[in-house]
Amino acid sequence: MMQRFEATRALTRALDNANARARAAFDAIPLIRWILPLALGVVGALSPQWFDTRPTYALMVLITYLLLRTSTNVFGLAVLAAMLVYLPMEMDRFERGILFDIALYTMLGIGLNIVVGYAGLLDLGYVAFFASGAYIFALVVAPEAGGGWDIGASFWLMIPAAMALAAALGVALGLPVLRLRGDYLAIVTLGFGEIIRLMLNNRDDITNGPRGVYLIPKAHFFDKELTGPYELYFLVLAGVFIAAFAAERIRDSRVGRAWEAIREDEDAASAMGVNTTFYKLLAFAIGAAIGGGGGVIYAAKQTAIFPRDFDLDVSINVLALVIIGGMGNVRGVVLGAMLLIGLPEVLRDFSIEFAFIDLANIGADYRLVIFGAALVAIMVLRPEGLLPSRRRAAEFEQAEMLESELAT
């Protein structure tokens, strides 16, 4: 009996030590943070049978690296911009699809980051706004759905219109839940997200139900038809830059400071005269508008959308990428989107063929298994995210400080 107890204890201690060592190594050697991705990128680029979509992966890694090195460095940003334009030209359709997804999720991440990272409102139903943008657009322009407006003009009008409607939805959903905090808010928003999806599914008189809305016409840019992920990728990219620019500007404004006050201590903020109701709704509205804009572009790219495209997994993916990247800053969101959206796709082509080991399909078969384990590992090793903003890192310290250090 006693011995068994001792054995568990020894194991527990060993686990704790291993954990602490891994964490210390990660923190102590800043090089590891960019040498590791760089090394992986080189390996990826040099060994064809390991990574078949190696340009994608190399791109990912390089951007990550640049972002880590040069946050406001003009040269770095220029290289980054050139690469973002040049690399997709070299890619095939599948790789461009991945790139589109990364960019789209980056845009969604920036939107959710305003709600969660800036204002501190935990939203697990962000998909609701993404879905509403997509459906508003699709229902208006798809002839099958009784819409069928002239797409040439309406696509560019629909983006702001759908964003405005999504923002209105954000306010409408935000109003009743303003009093709620933390976990309760998370659950209510999760419920909202699921209700929206189920209603899209059930009200087939309006949405065509699970059969979805299809034959969504192509958008045009002057005379050029925006046919696929490649053209629309640039549209999302523009969306990402606008959203990122707006988000950073707002964060540094009076509004951003109000959010910060609410996030840190809502009661105190309210006592200091911050109109918490207004600013919380504003966060919901801006976040929703960005999500709605993303939805329009998504619908335009897919040309057919279905309620099942908008399940809880979307909300969870966006939230996870925001948190893994490091809440409260755009760089973190970009990194998070690359890892969360890009990595599982790149892993599809990953296989091990070395000497007598032949696991040809390990990537395709186990990518989501690896993904799940990676989420846990990142949280355990870096609970504040991979690239926390400086302010966030300080808050994290504070939280640790206030937490009583129960010696266990």
Partner: protein, 240 residues
């Protein structure tokens, strides 16, 4: 090689939360059978000292010895098992449990008939609690909660009792009742380390006292000497 260790001894203990060290090298000694008062103003580090002894906080450096063994690396439940019992600041009664359940939790590491005997014993020390046995802890008055907190700490059959601000928020009559019981507990053989802001009453019951100022011991003397000291009179007793 081994220096003579006191019954409870803190040697250069540094402890606190995160980066902020609320106590910066506290050394103090409590001998068996004593009542020792630890006096200081708000934020001097009194509660941090007690929380570090009972293992809720792990000291950044320094050593804590009890009955000749080091306890500063042990988890709280093991420290309780070694005979250190802590009635925390703010009483920390389990509000959703009955008074009796609170007492039984105090004896968590023991079981059997002796627990029921001990309940009987603490109820004779605090007769008021007997009438409240079936009530939820949250419904008690402040004074009753303080009695329950001390009674509950006694249920562990401690050899040393750490009391954190037992007089806080109580009417003078109640404070007297409680301190009379504290003396009685000490006479029954329990060593007591008492943290108080109310220096007057603490120095009445204690044998010796320490003055804690911004995380360090400023003064150590017998209770009688401290009562007469000018500095203490001015700062802590409010007498000119």
């Amino acid at each position: 090689m081994t220096a003579e260790r006191a019954y409870l001894e803190l040697a250069e203990v540094v402890s606190g939360y995160g980066q902020i060290m609320a106590i910066k090298g506290v050394s103090l000694r409590v001998e068996r059978g004593e009542i020792v008062a630890l006096i200081g103003s708000n934020g001097a580090g009194k509660s941090t000292t007690l929380r570090t002894i009972s293992g809720l906080l792990r000291p950044r450096s320094g050593e804590i010895w009890f009955e000749g063994r080091r306890i500063d690396r042990a988890p709280p439940h093991e420290i309780v098992a070694r005979g250190v019992s802590h009635a925390p600041e703010g009483r920390a009664i389990f509000a959703r449990m009955t008074v009796m359940d609170n007492l039984r939790l105090g004896a968590y590491r023991r079981s059997g008939a002796e627990v029921e005997r001990d309940i009987e014993h603490v109820l004779t020390l605090f007769p008021r609690l007997r009438e409240r046995g079936r009530q939820d802890g949250g419904t008690l008055s402040g004074g009753e909660q303080q009695m329950l907190a001390i009674a509950r700490a006694l249920m562990a059959r401690p050899r040393i009792l750490l009391l954190d601000e037992p007089s806080m928020g109580l009417a003078p009559v109640l404070v007297e009742t409680i301190f009379r019981t504290v003396l009685e507990i000490n006479r029954e053989g329990t060593t007591i380390l008492l943290v108080e802001q109310n220096a007057a009453i603490a120095l009445q019951v204690a044998h010796r006292g320490y003055i804690l100022e911004s995380g360090a011991i400023a003064l150590e003397a017998s209770a009688a000497e401290l009562r007469e000291s000018d500095a203490v009179r001015r700062t802590y007793l409010g007498i000119d």
